[in-house]
Symmetry: C2
Subunit: 139 residues, 2 copies
């Protein structure tokens, strides 16, 4: 049984599910930031997934990165599976702008997150659902 890590649940808002992964909005309005969590029990490293799961994660990651890059006119996407704090396998997709708070540094541990208001996060989730539903997102 897959269960989302409690800290990931606390730090994010659920957008929906792709075929393999739960799609989460990171609650940090400094950057549009989506986390993909493959719904595979006890997965920690990408190489622990089956080959077909790895291919699906790659496809979902590329989809998310491309959709965000285009919609937000990103200068760069940062895509990363770190997991030093939360072990459950999760892949960050962060839209970076040359004008953002942390540029050109990576965001983790450098710039303090700024939470969305409820209205702001609801609007962002709606926007991302509109973008991702034609790509196979299920609510």
């Amino acid at each position: 049984m897959f269960a989302l890590d409690p800290q990931l649940a606390n730090d994010t808002i659920v957008i929906g599910d792709l075929e393999l992964s739960r799609v989460l909005l990171m609650n940090d309005k400094n950057y549009p930031w989506i986390i993909l969590v493959p719904r595979i029990e006890q997965a920690v490293e990408v190489f622990q997934l089956s080959e077909s799961q790895q291919r699906e994660l790659t496809a979902e990651s590329a989809l998310i990165a491309q959709v965000m890059y285009r919609h937000f006119s990103a200068d760069k996407m940062n895509v990363a599976a770190l997991g030093n704090v939360v072990a459950q396998l999760h892949v960050h997709h962060i839209v970076r702008f040359k004008s953002d708070l942390c540029w050109p540094k990576p965001v983790w541990g450098v710039c303090a997150p700024v939470q969305y208001t409820r209205g702001e996060s609801a609007a962002m989730v709606d926007t991302l659902r509109v973008l991702l539903t034609p790509m196979g997102l299920l609510l």
Copy 2:
């Protein structure tokens, strides 16, 4: 024509080539750290690769991560495509230990790199070539 970015060339030592990617050792002895650079001209984002190139990069990334994880008895692998400073597409694979200098923070911009001596880097490159040659590494 593919050419390695000059800053990547300056910061790393060449280990060899896999089918898609050049395999580089980051010159930072704080952690075993391999960078994969797909030999595709002007690639910046993973989603700009063809689907078959994305699948190959996923396979090479999983191979590198798994081999390093096992050989060095990692606590965690950090795998990331950032590219805020060097645009050329490159994917970090960093062996992390709970005892390392930066744990649990990500390494970039947090802990100053410590260069290998020539003998140390030659020994590490030899070790990685022995591990990766049976996996298809060409020198």
